[in-house]
Each structure stands twice: as C-alpha cells, then as structure tokens.
C-alpha cells in the first residue's frame, strides 16, 4: 500500500478526493433538506403537501362560493393555455401572515372551522366586483398566493385580491416538464421523492466510504516520491503545523462566507433565473477549492506525522525550545562561573553572605542588641565547625576525584577525623586498594594469555616444520598409486593451513592485547586502495567477482601504520575473495567527510549469513556453519583489533546477504 504513489499520482488522488467530498457534501445536504425541511425550503411538508394544498384550495374555493351563494368565476386566460391550470379569482387573501388578522375585514369574513388547520389564516372575501389580477410570477413558478393587491374600501377596510390556480380533475400534463408546466414539474419531483429519500443517504454513506479510502491512499502517498525511499518535505510541510491550522482555517472560513452569501442570493426568489446557473457554478467551484485546500492541509499533517516528532514543526514548540535554550545557556554559563571558583571559597562566600544578611536583619529588628551577642558567638562556633568539616571533606573529595580520574592508588590520612569521616575515608582506601589489585591481576592475566599463546605457537611451529618438510620430501619420492598421492595432497594442504592458522593466532593475540608497536605515518588512501586493487584484481576475477571502486578526485591522507593497515585491507579483501558470491559485484568506496576517512567494503555473501555482525568479529567465528572453506575465522578479529589500535574503528553490518564493513580513520 505504501507504493500506491507509483500507481496513481497524488494530484489525481487529490482531485478524486475533492470530487468525492463535494458529492458527499451535496448528498448530505440533500438528505438534511429532506429530513428537516422538505424539497421546497419554505414548506414544512414538502412537495406532497404542495400537491395536496392545491386540491385543498379547490375545495376551499368551492366551499366559499357555496357559502356566499355565488360561484367560482373561472375564465380562461390565454397565457395559461396548455399549462393544465385553471384559475379562479378570489377577491380575498390567502396568507399565513398573522398580521392580517388585525384587519377587521378578515375577521368578519372568517371562515370558521371549514378549512384544514394548516391554513389557519386562510381567509376569503368575495367582493361584489371581482377584480382580475394575474401575475407574471405565477408563470415562473413562484408561490402563487403571495401575489395580491389591496384596495382601500369605502368602509375603511381593505379588500385584497388574489388569483388562485387550481386543477380540475386529473392534472393536465400536456405542457410537459420543460415547458413551464408547474404541475408537471411538481409531480415529477414528487415521483422522485421516495427514491431520493432512500438513495441520497445511501449515496452519502457510499461516498463517505470512498472518500475515506481515497484519503487513506492519499495519506499513504503523501511525502513520498516516485522511485525514491524516505519521506520528503515540500513547501507545505515546512509551514509550522499550528500556523497552518490558522491559515487554512481562515481561508476555509472566507470560502464559507462567500458560499453562504452565494447560497443566500440563490434562495431569494425574485432573482432573475438565468443567474442561478452561474451562482450554482460559483458555489461548486468554491466548494471544490475548499475541499482541495483541506485535502492539501490534511496531507501536510500526514507527512509531518509520518516524519515523526511532528510537534517539532510547530511555532509553539519552537518558541518553547528557544526559551529552553536560553535557560540552558544561562544555566551553563552560571555553572561555568561557579565552577571557576574554588569550592571552599564558594562555601565561605555563601557563609559570608548569610552572616551579613542575618547581621543586617538583627541590626534592624533587634535594636537593643540583646540577641546580637548570642548570635555573634554562634557564628564564631559555626565558622570553626565549618572550617574543620570542609578540611576533612576536602581530603575525601580530592582522593575520590583522583581515583576516578586515573584509577591511581590513593591513601587518605584519617588523622584527626571524626568517626563518620574516618569510616568514609577507610572505605575509599579499601576501594582503591581493591582496584589496584584487580588492575594488576588483569594486566598479569592478559600478559600471561598472550605469552601462553605465543609460546605454544612457537612450540607447535617446530614439529610443524618437520611435517611440512617431510610431506614435501614424500611428494618428491614419486610414490606410486593414485590414493597415496591424493592423501599426500591433503597432508600438504592441511599442514599449510595449520601454518597459516598458527601465524594468524599469534597475530590475533598480539593485536588484541596491543602488543604491537605502531609507526604511525601519513598514508595516502587513494594509493593504498589502488595498490590493494592491483593485488587482488586477478584473484577476484578468477572467482567471478567484479570489483567496483569509488573514490574522490582529490588526495586523501590518513594517519596509520602502513604495514598494519595493509594487513587490515588484506584480510578484508581476502574475505571478499573467499566469501563473496561468484558472479556478483563487490564495492569498495572511499569517502572523506568531517575530518574522517571512510572505507566501505560491500559484497554479497555466498553463504547465508545467519549470525550477527558482532558474532562475526569474534575470534574463530565464520559465516559458514559448516566451516569447510579455507580461512580460520581470525581475519575480521585481527582486522578490527589492528584498526582500533590505530585509532580507527571497524563496523560490520549484515543486511540479508549484503555484507558490509566500514573502516573509519582520522584524516591526517
């Protein structure tokens, strides 16, 4: 999953994400509208009620007409032809505005209990001379009952006229949805409602899942680059995270404000219809921009979290750190000042300051001086005690510091010390004595070990000389028989192996105990490397190993004994010859940085290396468990001992079959 960025670009993912979020938001909004308000935002029961209400008007009109002994005047207006609506003209008012209740005219003509409760303020007044009023708005599909005209009556009352359109019988759909047939439009919407009510929440949920998945992919891809390892920081990721929250939050808010005002203007019914498309487009664009911005911010958060220690990339952290640094600097400088003064002087100074403050306090508050004498004697006694305690403590301290510094043997003079100090001093003396004995023992045992190995090896060498010589003589005897010659060959090989082993053993023991005198001098690393390549080139090629070297153009010098440095190289190169997988490349790199010269040897091991790097450097440990190859497992141990004796370091690492040795030396 972490390679997702290889399959899809981050930009494509981000766009897909933004689109999904937008669609999801639309769906959620739709669902919310359904749930809360219905399709026509201003009506509490949605489109179905709208249709019902149309039927309700018709009933109401008929009822009113009967009550007044009149009839509904219907007249066909040309402009309504084909819409499926007929209209009746009612001299009166349909409104839900309670303000109209104040008008006496309506109270009189109140139509008690005959109409549904929803239409509590639905009142009529059929005038003597019905007037016609036809609004253009009606055709545009606006609320029909909000168009009215008022007329001041002679009796001081107001007469309102409105036009109500209603269908008779089955609605006439001949005008069709796209020809301004409001009824057809309403019916179509109403037909969709049950589907949309189910589909929109499900769609929203699906889109939520898709969005989450895309976001997850995007977070995986965030900070990665095609074909490269690691997490990369772009410009966005460098912005401190808390600052980014503020910036992004502000921008999102701005977008939201523009969105709201756009939506607001859209909801106003009298805006010209043709702008609606543009307003919708703008709203979509703004939503999209907001989503993209949010996604980019989330990605930068993801990168910062992936990088680890994300809190470091915050303004707050930086400020806190600055403060901490200032405090630390202050502390260390004050500590340095304190350290530069001798410890006993410091304590005396403290004593002096306290004494002065006490004396000052007494002089101010104890004016009659009764306490002053007592205090004065107390101070003299205290000062004397302090003097002696510091003298004894000084001896202990000095001895302990000296012992810690170079492990030298100490002896503290306990004369005149009180009991506790004497105990402490004797304990220190005992520790020092024990340490000296242990050191001497260790030195002796190390020396004996080296001597033992050297002497035993020398004693082995003499019989070995005979063995090698007589094997050689036997070979010269031209012994008949294939088997005999085969055995001789084994004897020859094994005796030489034994010889090499003994030589290496002596060297390893000397190198490990530091029994070698080094003549340190400047060594040209490039020349050394080229010399070793020359020495080993053919043997490597015979074993099918291609050697690749990288070294800087300029000369690099390091500080070492050239003969022993060669032993190290010889051992490491021999290792490559012996243990590298034929048909692979081996690398030797020379680098120089920060005053260090570094050689890196890398090769692919022939045998699986199922032991740790530390174990490999132990004496007599080899990478192959069967131990049937040449070599004795001393090479790396010798190389490391020699390197360390020349103030260098040798690090070994094993990564699968990749075997890597890093030699580091001080640059000259």
């Amino acid at each position: 999953m972490k390679n997702i960025y290889k399959r899809s670009s981050k930009i494509r993912l981000a766009l897909a994400c933004a689109f999904c979020i937008m669609a999801m938001l639309a769906c959620i909004t739709g669902t919310a509208i359904f749930a809360c308000e219905g399709v026509y935002g201003s009506h509490p029961h949605g489109i179905e009620n709208e249709l019902m209400r149309k039927a309700g008007y018709e009933c109401a009109l008929r009822a009113v007409a009967e009550y007044h002994g009149g009839e509904i005047i219907t007249e066909c207006d040309t402009s309504l032809e084909g819409t499926g609506f007929k209209y009746g003209i009612i001299d009166g008012r349909l409104d839900r505005n309670p303000d109209f209740n104040a008008e006496g005219v309506f109270e009189e003509k109140n139509f008690n209990g005959k109409l549904p409760e929803d239409y509590g303020y639905f009142q009529f007044h059929l005038g003597e001379n019905p007037k016609f009023y036809l609004s253009d708005r009606l055709l545009a599909g606006s609320d029909y009952y909000t168009d009215w005209e008022s007329e001041q009556g002679e009796d001081g009352g107001t007469t309102l006229y409105t036009v109500v359109y209603f269908t008779e019988g089955a609605p006439d759909m001949t005008g069709g949805y796209f020809h301004g047939n409001l009824y057809a439009q309403a019916a179509a919407l109403a037909a969709m409602v049950p589907t949309l009510r189910v589909a929109m929440p499900i769609g929203a949920a699906l889109l939520l899942g898709l969005t989450a998945w895309l976001l997850y992919l995007l977070f995986c891809a965030a900070g990665r680059r095609y074909g490269e390892e690691g997490i990369f920081c772009g410009l966005w990721e460098r912005i401190p995270m808390d600052l980014a929250v503020v910036i992004v939050g502000f921008l999102e808010m701005m977008l939201a404000v523009i969105m709201v005002s756009a939506a607001d203007s859209m909801s106003r019914p009298y805006e010209p219809y043709e702008y609606l498309v543009w307003i919708l487009a703008l709203a979509a664009l703004l939503t999209f921009a907001g989503c993209l911005l949010g996604i980019r911010w989330l990605m930068s958060v993801a990168v910062n979290v992936k990088k680890g220690k994300w809190w470091r990339n915050t303004v707050v952290y930086r400020i806190l750190k600055l403060i901490a640094n200032c405090l630390a600097a202050f502390r260390s400088s004050s500590r340095a000042i304190r350290k530069s003064i001798r410890w006993d002087i410091r304590i005396w100074a403290l004593f002096g300051v306290i004494t002065f403050l006490e004396g000052f306090g007494l002089a101010v508050f104890d004016a009659d001086g009764a306490l002053l004498t007592v205090w004065f004697f107390e101070k003299i006694l205290f000062g004397a005690a302090l003097f002696f305690i510091m003298k004894w403590y000084g001896r202990l301290k000095e001895a302990a510091v000296r012992m810690a510094e170079d492990g030298s043997e100490i002896h503290i003079d306990t004369k005149g010390m009180p009991l506790d100090f004497e105990e402490h001093a004797e304990a220190l003396n005992a520790i020092s004595g024990g340490m000296a004995v242990a050191m001497a023992e260790r030195m002796k045992s190390e020396r004996m070990k080296t001597e033992l190995i050297t002497n035993v090896s020398h004693d082995i060498k003499t019989p070995l000389t005979s063995i090698i010589n007589y094997v050689d003589l036997l070979e010269k005897e031209n012994i008949e028989g294939e088997k005999a010659n085969e055995y001789l060959e084994v004897l020859d090989r094994q005796s030489k192996h034994l010889k090499k082993l003994i030589e290496d053993l002596i060297e390893a023991s000397k190198a490990a105990t530091g029994n070698i005198k080094f003549h340190m001098e400047s060594v040209n690393a490039r020349v050394l490397l080229n010399q070793s390549i020359g020495e080993f080139e053919e043997r490597l090629l015979q074993n099918g190993i291609e050697l690749v070297t990288n070294m800087p153009e300029e000369e690099v010098h390091l500080w070492a004994d050239n003969r022993y440095l060669w032993r190290v190289f010889d051992n490491l190169m021999n290792n490559i010859v012996k243990y590298a997988q034929p048909g692979t490349r081996a690398y030797v790199d020379l680098t120089e940085e920060e005053g260090k010269v570094r050689f890196v040897f890398r090769n692919i091991s022939r045998n699986a290396l199922n032991i740790s790097a530390d174990e490999l450097m132990e004496r007599f440990v080899r990478g192959d468990a069967s131990r049937n190859t040449e070599g004795n497992g001393l090479g790396l141990s010798i190389a490391r001992s020699l390197t360390e004796s020349m103030d260098g370091s040798m690090n070994l690492s094993i990564d699968g079959d990749l075997f890597k040795v890093i030699l580091t030396f001080e640059q000259e």
Partner: protein
Amino acid sequence: MNRILICDDEPDILSALRIYLESEGMEVVTAENGQVALDIMSGEEGGDIHLILMDVMMPEMDGITAMAQIRKISNVPIIMLTAKSEDADKVVGLTVGADDYVTKPFNPVELMARVKSQLRRYTMLGSATGAGSSEDADILIIGGIELRDRAKEVYLDGEPVSLTPLEYDILKCLMTHRGEVLSPKDIYEEIWQEPMVGAESTVAVHIRHLREKLEYDSANPRYLKAVWGRGYKMDDIH
C-alpha cells in the same frame, strides 16, 4: 663440493635438511646445539665449511650466542632458522652476524634458493663483497636478483627469469632507484611516459606479477617491498 653446517636441536629437521641439501649435491655436517657448532667451526673442519644454517632456540648454547662467537673466527655466511617471526628477533640475529634468515615453518624451495644465493656470493664474488651492487652500470644486482641491461635478461639466484617488457622496465626502474620509495604514479609516468589517468591500479598488478616471478613467498616479499599508501621500493639485502 660445498660443505654446509646445519645446527638444530630437532633431529627430524636436521635429517630433512640433510636430504634437501644432499640432493642438491652438497655435503652436510650437523650439530645439535650452538656449542657443538662452535666447536666444529673452531676445529680443523671449520675452514671447509661454506655456509651455516643455524636454529635460534637450542639447549646448551642458543643460536644468537653461537653466531656471535663464530663471527669472531669466520665470515662464513650464516642463515638463521627461527620460529620467532617477530621483527626484533630478526634484527638481533642480523646485527649479531647472520646474513639472512628463514622463519619456521619454512618452504624448502625458498630455503634452498637462499642457501644457493649465499653460497654463490661467498664462493664466486668472494667473501669480502657484501650485498652486491656492481660497479658496472650494465649489471644491477640486488640480493639474488641480477639484471643485465644490455642483454635485457634477469636472473634469480643464477636462474634466468622470463619477464614481459613492462615488468622488466618496472624492475629496472626500481633497481636503479634502490632504497627509494616510488609511488605508482612515479613508476607509471617513468615507464609509460604519459600522465596516469584512470589506470591507477595497473602498476600494482604488474608489481604483483613481478613478485610472483621473483619471490618464493609473494605474501612476504624480500625484494619487491610495498610501502602501503606510498608506493614500492627495493632495498639492498643487508
């Protein structure tokens, strides 16, 4: 007929050495410790001995003491046989009067070559001549290596060695600058007569080939020495 005195406390080594030397047509006298060797050298037979192979660690009198005593009465070449491979022991031996040393366990072929080389120098060039630098500019000699420039021939312990022209040039270059450390760059530019670019390990490869032809133990070269990180040099052999 060359007479060789072998001095070692190990009878098996004595007899092995006897077999080798006698197979090369030499006469062998043996001594089991330093004292016996000293007695032989100071006795009547002493004048007939052409070379001594001397072990270092022996009972009664060790090799170093014996050598010091023998040097007082004879300047016969002495080759030290030692199980100690420490530099200090070699230095002591060579200072006391050994002409060469071989460390145990030794390679018989190498030992024979050194014996022959010392014998040749002692009997042919005269015992007074030390390690040979010839007056003649045509012939360059270092230890057992003899380079005859006009004939373009190289001999190792008297045996001709076949070298490629490049190897010959490198050898000659090193022999003329004896005792000096020459960097691979110096050698390259001297022989190829062009700046060394991208051929930095070429010289090392040729040196290795030379070493295989001229050294008995190419891992521990006597003549073609590498100063790692600097270059190569050939020193006079003591």
